[in-house]
């Protein structure tokens, strides 16, 4: 039997058993997860559908003065394809490091009589699946919405499925090649060089994104021409993303021969890329992996040196045991790059968004639009926080599980432990989000009252979201798991995410109602407006307190009643 096939069959068996194990899990958990997955898919479909419809309306439909709507929509497909291509290449660079170099399975497979090429292909299949399933999940509603809005030919649906595999394989080959080359030729680089290179790449990426967004100034007179120009700058006949977009677009028009041409171009490139990457793996994988395995693993971290040395001073005002717990949590987080790199990506996206508000101010000079943007900013920032608390804060209690004997034996109550996690989360999230809220308010030149409402809402959301994450994390702990990603994927994690999103929607809705009524001049006077603001802030405060105290109380009760 071919070895790649043997691994593939084994993985198929594993997937089957994994799916079959669902019947042994809690029915409630399965129901919550299924409803959440279907709801998210349908929500994405609705948002894409409405967004595309708006885009067609914005650009102008056939028969009107400007009939660029459909053209804009088609262009957006090209941008989407390029973005996905870059994201796939980036995610494969990360995933390949884990699947090819870090997984325990690698050692097991390599001790067998398997050639490095076969080993590579066996792991590559997994790498592609890992990095592309979410694209299939969230890309499908987008494609469906696109087809509805452009009245696509039936061949479009077949083409989307056929183009998918070669389209994801090419960036996967690119990302994997980058990883293998980095591991083979750059492992000797010191931390400073790596940090400078990484920082340079990130800055370059942000500058590029900013230049593209700048081209799309909504405030210019020739808005649509500017948008088209910006869109064109992301296209090149040399990009595989361009071939995929062109092919799918042609399929939508029912143009068989053009579709086939782009498909064959993409397929042949994908096959050649697979072949080349396999050959490359045969040459450079093993020397790189062996070097990585053979590196001196002694990492000396003197207490009073390094970037975390300032923690001693910063945390001095705190009393024990909180100081030690803060110290431990921050150091564990800092020393796990997989954790803080995601943190940086989230806030990097947020920073680009806030920085780009400047480009929109001239169009939105009215109070109506400024109010909307202020509310959307609160929504965007708090949704990012909701994602972060669900991903990083929710698993904190569970992660203590295997070491609970250390905390369990210490003169420390669970209440102290939970509040320490809570304030750690509030402090870290507020540091970034309140700063972003202040910055966006300043850029939008909000009135003082609007300014205060925005900042207050963001801060209060941090409290509520942290309370939900810590409380539900204690209510639904997974003490047997060390992997935060797996802890989050359980029922508790899903419940926390859904509750957090619901909380954010409530906070933003209250704010929108108050500010838009003012913008539409529906208040009888200033006194009524101020009274409504007071009531609204009271409601948000009550909601924040409820989301903080109730889950914390339930979680604490659960921990106290557990036999650990």
């Amino acid at each position: 039997m071919n070895q790649v096939w043997a691994v593939f069959i084994a993985k198929t068996h594993m997937a089957r058993h994994q799916i079959a194990s669902v019947r042994h899990q809690s029915k409630l958990k399965v129901a919550v997860l299924s409803i959440a997955a279907i709801g998210l898919w349908l929500g994405a479909l609705l948002i894409f559908h409405l967004g595309f419809r708006w885009l067609i309306h914005f650009g102008g439909q056939d028969g009107s003065e400007f009939a660029f709507g459909t053209a804009l929509l088609r262009q957006s497909l090209s941008i989407f394809a390029l973005s996905i291509f870059l994201l796939m290449a980036f995610s494969n660079t990360l995933v390949a490091f884990s699947t090819l170099y870090r997984s325990r399975e690698v050692v097991y497979l390599l001790q067998g009589p398997i050639s490095y090429t076969d080993f590579f292909y066996a792991r590559f299949i997994e790498s592609v699946l890992f990095s592309s399933w979410s694209l299939a999940y969230l890309g499908s509603p987008m494609m469906l919405a696109y087809a509805w809005n452009t009245n696509a030919h039936f061949i479009f649906y077949i083409a989307v499925v056929l183009f998918f595999l070669p389209f994801v394989v090419i960036p996967a080959c690119l990302g994997t090649t980058i990883t293998m080359v980095l591991v083979r030729y750059f492992p000797r680089m010191n931390t400073l060089t790596v940090a400078l290179l990484g920082g340079g790449t990130l800055v370059g990426f942000f500058v590029y994104i900013r230049s593209v967004l700048k081209g799309a100034r909504f405030s210019e007179m020739q808005t649509i021409a500017a948008i088209r120009e910006a869109m064109d700058s992301t296209q090149s006949p040399l990009f595989p993303s361009h071939w995929a977009a062109q092919g799918i677009r042609m399929a939508g028009d029912g143009n068989y021969s053009e579709t086939l041409f782009w498909f064959l171009l993409l397929l042949s490139t994908a096959l050649f890329a697979i072949y080349l990457t396999g050959r490359l793996a045969n040459r450079i994988f093993y020397p790189g992996w062996s070097y990585l395995m053979g590196q001196d693993k002694q990492r000396i971290k003197p207490m009073d040196r390094g970037p975390l040395a300032c923690l001693n001073t910063l945390l001095r005002p705190l009393k024990e045991p909180y100081r030690s717990l803060f110290h431990k949590d921050i150091k564990l987080f800092w020393r796990d790059p997989t954790q803080w790199s995601q943190f940086i990506i989230f806030f990097g996206i947020m920073a680009i968004y806030i920085a780009n508000i400047r480009n929109s101010t001239r169009l939105y000079e009215t109070e109506f639009w400024r109010g909307w943007i202020a509310c959307l900013n609160v929504g965007a920032v708090t949704l990012i926080v909701a994602t972060l608390t669900s991903r990083f804060v929710f698993p904190l209690i569970s992660l203590e599980g295997r070491r609970i004997w250390i905390l369990g034996m210490a003169p420390l109550t669970f209440s102290q432990l939970m509040w320490q996690k809570f304030w750690l989360s509030v402090a870290l999230t507020s540091f970034f989000t309140v700063g972003l809220a202040v910055l966006s308010g300043h850029i939008l030149q909000l009135e003082p009252l609007h300014y205060a409402i925005t900042v207050y809402s963001v801060f209060l959301s941090n409290l509520g979201l942290s309370g939900l994450a810590v409380g539900l994390g204690a209510l639904y702990p997974t003490f047997t798991e060390d992997n935060p990603a797996r802890i989050v994927s359980g029922m508790g994690g899903t419940l926390n995410l859904l509750s957090s999103v619901a909380f954010v929607i409530c906070v933003v809705s209250i704010q929108v109602l108050v500010l838009q009524w003012k913008a539409l001049d529906l208040y009888t006077g200033e006194a009524q407006f101020r009274g409504t603001v007071l009531v609204a802030m009271g409601l948000i405060t009550a909601l924040g307190a409820l989301c903080t105290l109730l889950p914390m109380r339930l979680g604490l009760r659960n921990l106290n009643s557990m036999e650990l």
Partner: protein, 247 residues
């Protein structure tokens, strides 16, 4: 059967294994002893082709592991101290997977798989997921899969972790019988000196990356000024001021 010539490994600046020469003939039960961090696992990883040596060569059955790793691995089996197994496969599915990996003919697999599962007393749980196995069962499955392709050399890294006395006895007898009757060569790293003393044909003692002594149990024991147990010799040799000859 196992030959290492000037086998060396550096981890950065640190010398993990100093130039090591080994020649272990076919049918030998070789025990590799040393304290924690002595270089045992690094040596084993170089032998199995998992680590590239900084210098020197190692060959298994006359095949150079660095030059032709696939052929060398085909004739050896490896059981690590904490074996990696696929939790979401059943025992039989795992054996089937290993058969595919070693490209074992279907007819051979059909006969030997069941025989090994029976022999290691895990046939009755062969259709259960590995995640439901106890540590001992996992270790037995790891041994069963290691012998599926009938290796000529078996490298075992501290196999007694988590095994109960009955299983220890079984594994010990099984390996001993294979070396005596079928000419299997066993290279075993262990901390359990009493077992090494009982079953080893030859013993090597390593510390701080240097092979301090090598010989039969009797030869090693004779190194001590007051010949006693292997434990006495081991502790004397691996003292901090080691590498000094025993008086």
């Amino acid at each position: 059967m196992i030959q290492a010539t000037q086998l060396t490994k550096h981890f950065g600046e640190k010398l993990a294994v100093a130039p090591l020469d080994l020649d272990i003939p076919e049918g030998t039960f070789f025990c590799f002893l040393g304290p924690n961090g002595a270089g045992k696992t690094t040596t084993i990883k170089m032998m199995t082709g998992l680590l590239r040596p900084s210098g020197g060569t190692v060959s298994i059955g006359g095949i150079n592991v660095q030059e032709d790793p696939v052929a060398a691995k085909r004739c050896m089996g490896y059981v690590p101290d904490h074996p990696f197994l696929y939790d979401k496969l059943t025992g039989r599915e795992f054996m089937r997977f290993v058969a595919g990996l070693y490209q074992i003919p279907e007819s051979y697999y059909q006969v030997h798989c069941e025989k090994l599962l029976e022999m290691f007393e895990i046939a009755h749980v062969g259709d259960q997921l590995v995640e439901d196995y106890s540590h001992g069962m996992r270790q037995k499955l790891s041994f069963a899969s290691c012998f599926l392709h009938d290796p000529k050399v078996v490298i075992v890294d501290e196999p007694w972790v988590g095994l109960d006395p009955k299983n220890i006895r079984f594994v010990k007898d099984f390996l001993k019988e294979k070396t005596r009757n079928e000419g299997l060569t066993v290279f075993m790293s262990t901390h359990t000196l009493s077992i090494a003393e009982e079953i080893a044909d030859k013993i090597g003692i390593i510390n701080q990356g240097k092979l301090l002594e090598m010989g039969t149990v009797a030869e090693i024991k004779a190194l001590h000024e007051n010949p006693g147990s292997l434990e006495d010799v081991f502790l004397t040799l691996t003292r901090d001021e080691l590498a000094k000859p025993i008086s």
